[in-house]
């Protein structure tokens, strides 16, 4: 055990070097900085915004519309003159993001039940979410005004019937069913909410598996490049311990790095979403449908992630042996990266269950697919699928470890090389 810990501490010390610490701290700082910037931008977008308004109508209705804009936290900058083009040029020079032109006869047309156009100009000065939000608010104000006007007309014309009934004679009551649970709510809203809450999970999985695998492959390649592997292989410690300590150290440092990385990501996402909290109603629906990760769910997800890391480490160990030096190790990461990338991207855009059978089998054959599939499966109560995934990964891991141990216990650890020039594996 003493020899094992001696080797393990050395491996950890080799991995946690100055470069790693600096890059992690830099990454955290960058994410934090961007997050804070995004937060500031979002706050700015939510704060009082300038809007240029050219009111060519000067009617009660146009003044009412301007009043609504004030209520919606807009600061109105009245545009003088009669020429909309001149108003556009003036607004361009000012810091206003929006210009609203209310045409002459607007109030009268509405009173005559004629549809009348008002013109909005949005000055797209950046592609930030904050900038887009401003025009969304204006759109909401106009929609509310439209509703107000049509409701008033309907009330006057048909006083005994609610305008809501007249505008939407068919009312829907939406229910969402998940397994044996049912709750009232919109499927798209619920899906959107669950997606937004669990979007971080695949990112965490991706980062951890990539980090750990990258570390072990580099560690073995560096041993070869620095000519330390031969000496290490002749010291009195079982070869299996050499393999295990490399995997364990990479696993520990990989988890640590991913945790630090995720703190930065959390700060970044916190900035973008503005620390959005679920409404009480939505929380209730989510809970009612069981779309939350329970203790058992987290445990299963943790086990799935653990086995995926082990598979990644074992695969990286074998690939590391094939590498001649650090540079070739980076190239050898490619197949592993692809195997992680496929389920990672699929988790965002597609449902594996709905894929054609060959594609589905291909995805399920990749061990790294299973932790990505675990979250939706757990939420939807498909526990057997999660357990089968874990068992599959355990089998793959055992096979890979057996191969890795066989390689390390023979001279193949020194003679096996993947030569790209000759395009053949020398065994």
């Amino acid at each position: 055990m003493k020899k094992f810990t001696n080797l393990l501490f050395k491996e950890i010390r080799e991995l946690i070097n100055k470069q790693l610490i600096i890059s992690l701290l830099m990454m955290m700082a960058i994410f934090y900085f961007i997050g804070q910037m995004a937060k500031t931008e979002m706050k700015k977008a939510a704060a009082t915004q300038k809007i240029s308004v050219m009111d060519l109508d000067q009617s009660e209705l146009s003044r009412g519309l301007a009043g609504s804009l004030k209520t919606a936290n807009f600061e109105i900058e009245w545009s003088q003159g009669k020429d909309p083009e001149a108003a556009v040029q003036a607004a361009k020079k000012s810091d206003a993001y929006l210009l609203l032109v209310i045409p002459q006869g607007f109030g009268e047309s509405v009173a005559r039940f004629e549809q009348k156009e008002i013109t909005t100009y949005t000055f797209l000065r950046s592609f930030s979410i904050g900038g887009i939000r401003k025009s969304e608010i204006l759109r909401a104000v106009i929609t509310a005004t439209n509703n107000y006007l049509s409701d008033n007309v309907l009330k006057r014309k048909v006083p005994d019937v609610s305008p809501d009934i007249l505008k939407s004679p068919i009312k829907t009551k939406d229910y969402v069913i998940v397994k044996d649970r049912m709750a009232e709510g919109s499927a798209s809203a619920i899906s959107g909410f669950v997606y937004s809450q669990s979007i971080i999970i695949p990112i965490i999985l991706f980062m951890i598996i990539m980090y750990s695998s990258q570390m072990v492959i580099s560690a073995i390649a560096m041993e070869k490049q620095n000519k330390t592997l031969e000496t290490l292989l002749t010291v009195p410690i079982p070869r299996t311990s050499i393999v295990t300590t490399k995997m364990l150290a990479a696993g520990i440092v990989g988890l640590l790095s991913a945790a630090i990385y995720m703190i930065g990501m959390k700060s970044y996402f916190g900035g973008i979403t503005g620390d959005v909290r679920a409404s009480a109603a939505m929380s209730g629906v989510i809970k009612q449908l069981g779309l939350t990760l329970s203790g058992k769910g987290y445990l299963l997800l943790g086990i799935a992630l653990f086995f995926a890391i082990l598979c990644g480490l074992a695969m990286a160990t074998i690939l590391g042996v094939l590498a001649e030096d650090f540079r070739s190790a980076q190239t050898l990461m490619l197949p592993l990266m692809l195997m992680i990338l496929i389920p990672y991207l699929l988790s965002f855009f597609a449902d594996v269950q709905s894929l054609p059978l060959p594609a589905k089998l291909l995805v399920l054959a990749i061990p790294f697919s299973h932790p990505f599939l675990a979250t939706p499966n757990i939420m939807l109560g498909r526990y057997p699928a999660v357990i089968y995934g874990i068992l599959y990964m355990a089998v793959v891991f055992l096979v890979l470890v057996f191969i890795a141990a066989r390689i390390f216990s023979t001279d193949r650890v020194l003679t096996m090389k993947l030569r790209w020039g000759k395009k053949k594996v020398v065994l």
């Binding site: 020899k3 050395k10 080799e14 031969e230 002749t234 009195p236 023979t410 003679t415």
Partner: protein, 240 residues
């Protein structure tokens, strides 16, 4: 004298290429046994097999009675191998590297301390041992590695070109250290291109070429046999 290492009919093939075609030799306790030969003769392959890095394709190797194929871990406990192109962990300080290696051989902290002390004395790198290996010159790394190989007092030290990359003064010092440790009972199996070094260091020499041992004996015995002034001429004569 006790036989520490016995090599019988040792063969090694890489695919269709035969690197060793059946070689035999023995190394006794406290003896320095040298393999000399041109590049590709099979010297390094022999040393790598004895140090358990490569598996033989045929023949038998026993060290202190342990069979290399059956008990490689027992062999590793009793040897120390210095490869020709070895390196040390660049992020570790010299002393930390010695301690890291000492911990594989010492049961207790006291024994590890003693081993490290011995390593420091052999290396003679002074305060540089407190610096990271990454800052060392090639010669300093070689001295550190030699110290690592000898500090554990192995039953057999396997040294592949021990003075490779060292200047004249450092080479002389290293040779003195090897001699000293052999007198203390450590058997040494080494290879070198430097015939002067071989003559100075070795008790017995094996001339190896194309995977076969051409002849073996003491330096003086071989010179007498081939009526040659030095080992270089001996080797040339043996090749004919």
């Amino acid at each position: 004298m006790t036989i520490v290492l016995k090599v019988e009919g040792l063969k090694k093939s890489y695919g269709t290429k035969e690197a060793l075609k059946g070689i035999d030799f023995e190394v006794q306790e406290g003896e320095i046994f040298a393999l000399i030969g041109p590049n590709g003769a099979g010297k390094t392959t022999t040393l790598r097999i004895v140090s358990t890095l490569l598996s033989p394709s045929g023949g038998k190797v026993t060290l202190l009675g342990y069979d290399l194929k059956k008990e490689p871990e027992k062999i590793r406990e009793n040897i120390s191998y210095l490869p020709e192109e070895a390196g040390a962990y660049r992020n570790l300080k010299g002393t930390d590297y010695l301690r890291f290696m000492a911990n594989f051989y010492a049961d207790t902290r006291e024994k590890a301390d003693e081993t490290v002390r011995r390593g420091r004395d052999i290396a003679e790198l002074g305060t540089a041992l407190n610096d990271k290996v990454g800052t060392y010159s090639k010669g300093m790394v070689r001295k550190l590695l030699l110290a690592r190989a000898l500090m554990t007092k192995p039953k057999m030290a396997i040294l592949d070109e021990p003075t490779s990359g060292l200047d004249v003064i450092n080479s002389l010092e290293v040779r003195e250290i090897i001699k000293k440790f052999a007198k203390e009972g450590i058997s040494v199996l080494l290879s070198s291109h430097n015939m002067l070094e071989i003559e100075f260091l070795s008790d017995r020499v094996a001339l190896i070429d194309k995977g076969r041992i051409l002849d073996a004996g003491t330096s003086q015995g071989l010179k007498d046999k081939y009526q040659a002034p030095n080992l270089e001429v001996v080797f040339r004569s043996a090749l004919r």
